[in-house]
């Protein structure tokens, strides 16, 4: 493992080969916003919010830092007018799907994103894939997956597996940035494996 020197936001950062720009930035305590990133999971590059500017031999390009491997002598800029504008637009698009997500709202505040810029299309899922990947890679239960594609893509529990595994696990629940996952689970449960004599508390 050879050591690689790069510059992030004017700071000299040491990284090892094969590391991503995001990991290098995090090791140097430089914050890059992420939505689909999780330390236990393989990089996915779905949300694009961690986009940064990379200067290689004088040429600047835009890359997604969670999947871009570090290179010798590159100059990374994590905040610039251009980056902020792109992140703002990404957030506005995501907010059209999940207008009430606290995580998105916090980022929207920082980047000045207007949640009403695009017409609401509340599907609530932003396709970060955290639940799907966590279930496949960490718990290895594969109780949830993506179905369909393009604008119709959504998450879907496999009832047979979910009925056996999910009630005792639910480890993916806190990962969801929008709470849509919980809703999808409750829906699947109600349709496919209702709890016998479930207590709903004293409400």
């Amino acid at each position: 493992m050879s050591e690689i020197l790069l510059q992030i936001d004017g700071k000299e950062v040491k990284a090892t080969e094969g590391m991503t720009v995001l990991a290098a930035a995090q090791s140097a305590e430089i914050a890059i916003p992420t939505l689909c990133h999780h330390e236990k999971l393989e990089p996915f590059g779905a949300c694009r919010i961690c986009i940064v500017e990379v200067e290689v031999r004088g040429w600047t390009k835009l890359v997604v830092s969670c999947v871009y491997p570090v290179e010798e002598n590159i100059i990374v800029r994590t905040r610039s007018e251009k980056i902020d504008r792109i992140r703002k637009t990404i957030l506005e698009l995501l907010l059209a799907h999940a207008p009430d997500s606290p995580e998105l709202q916090a980022l929207a505040g920082e980047y000045g994103a207007d949640k009403d810029r695009f017409e609401k299309e509340a599907s609530f899922c932003i396709h970060c894939g955290l639940c799907v990947r966590y279930c496949a890679e960490v718990t290895k239960k594969n109780a949830i997956g993506f179905v369909d594609r393009g604008i119709r893509k959504e998450i879907s529990f496999i009832p047979e597996i979910a009925s056996k595994e999910c009630n005792d696990c639910k480890e993916c629940f806190p990962l969801c940035p929008t709470s849509y996952l919980q809703a999808a689970f409750v829906l699947t449960q109600a349709l496919a494996f209702p709890y016998p004599q479930q207590s709903y508390g004293d409400c």
Partner: protein, 150 residues
Amino acid sequence: MDIDRIDQIIDKHHGEASSLIQVLLDIQSEHHWLPKEALDRVGEKLQVPLSRIQHIATFYKAFSLVPKGRHEVHICVGTACHVRGATRILDTVEEATGIKPGETDLDLKYSLETVNCLGCCALGPVLEVDGKVHGKMSPVKTADVLKNYE
């Protein structure tokens, strides 16, 4: 559905997980859809989680998770066919079969789909039944073509 036949298909591809799509395509072409039992069997034998199979089976338009008819009718409604009267061909087929695009009739005889271009615009309007292309269609000729299928 014959589970031994599914096993044969899986064995033909040496039970390799990388052949998943080929296995699914073979099952699809034989049954005209992917029954749940078949997917369970494929997942079990190829050691692929059902969530992944479901992802692939819903991603590609070649696969169907609901039964399809014995004859797949595709009507081109691309620009060239459209201006040459694809709408009238579609109306004729809808009337003859009693189904709309995306549907299958109760006898499982026909499934109807519209497609956006079959790549032979000079033959427009084009009707495709079970992969065979019928070009320069008119409503009358369309009705004649459909009579040939049982």
